[in-house]
Symmetry: C2
Subunit: 188 residues, 2 copies
DNA sequence: CGTCTATTTGAATGTACTCAAAAGCGGTGG
DNA sequence: CCACCGCTTTTGAGTACATTCAAATAGACG
């Protein structure tokens, strides 16, 4: 159960066995059914979720009721509305499950405590946030400098597994285009 | 000289006077002339810059030689290609000055050392990165759900000071549209 | 099997772009 | 102080990329 998350930690920090046990003891566990909502916009994001199995999506619902996916979180990814979690204020984004999903998660207070007790964990989330920061800077650049067709090709190249796993309408939303237009692009 | 940066630290962490002196001792200082390049894409980003006065821009130059601004950094903002800085690998973005600018900066090795000696500093940059992360998630959402005119209105609302200070072509690039089209939008 | 949702296809429309030319503006040197 | 040069902004015409609307088809799930 903790295999994937330990390897995830190990990508950025070196963590001793006793610290490991301590960190894992702070984790909670939950199974989420397809289409179940883990975080509703305007509520406070009280947890950061690690996806052990399945896939989540992070999205915003606009005034017209249209969803805009901004991130897919399959196995090994972390999901949260970081601004909401960090400041414990209402969320802009929502999180829901694209498949039956198994998550591990830290509650806000637990993580704040762990930051103080195990500074390496703070380092881990600093690096994670920096990577996310960079990822979205590049996504925005891509959105500004490339056509929908080029962005779709990029998505296929970067996430070949997701492309087969996720419904077209969700990929279209992620790319910032309509499902209709993605269908046109695909059939070329 | 250190007034602005100390207030910046104080926004997220509480830092004692002796720690303060220690952190400030790690800072370097530099004056940059308008249009001077602080970081060239493909080089390694060796510093994180804090803008004391003036304004920087973070941008990507695509294959056709077109610039795409993704961030303006006036007084009180931090500038770096975080992916490049963090991993000390070639940068995707460049940084240059929109005005004569005064920066303070941490070199990579110095900051890594400070992270270990003063964990609070690592907390500071974690929070900074999380905020940046969220900022760009929302920018991408805005780019996917709003028209150019709405995004321009949003920019004016969020950064009224910058709107008067920065050339139209740079604002257009930031919004992901052509200067020609921004001119059309403005004259309505 | 039937219902509901997702995808495909085509036509008409809209948003933003390219190209081109003119006008404005800022700095520099005579 | 004015004249000139280069760069930025404006304006208009034609075009391309992506959308909306609508109807038909395909797929998923109880």
């Amino acid at each position: 159960m903790y295999d994937l998350i330990l390897r995830n930690f190990a990508m950025h920090i070196l963590i001793h066995e006793d610290e490991q046990r301590y960190v894992l003891a702070g984790l909670q566990h939950r199974n989420v059914k397809k289409n179940e909502v883990l975080l509703q916009a305007d509520e406070i994001c009280r947890n950061v979720y690690f996806v052990n199995q399945g896939c989540l999506r992070l999205f915003h619902t606009d005034r017209e009721g249209q969803d805009h996916n901004i991130l897919f979180c399959p196995e090994g990814w972390w999901a949260a509305d970081m601004a909401s979690f960090s400041a414990q204020k209402p969320a802009f984004f929502s999180i829901s499950a694209l498949e039956d999903t198994e998550v591990l998660y830290f509650n806000f207070n637990v993580l704040e405590r762990l930051y103080l007790e195990i500074p390496k964990l703070e380092r881990f989330f600093r690096i994670l946030s920096q990577n996310g920061f960079s990822l979205f800077q590049r996504r925005l650049t891509s959105s500004h400098s490339q056509t929908a067709e080029e962005r779709y090709a990029r998505f296929q190249r970067l996430y070949p597994a997701l492309e087969r796993r996720i419904a077209q309408k969700h990929i279209a939303s992620y790319l910032g285009i309509t499902p209709v237009f993605l269908s046109v692009i695909r059939n070329k």
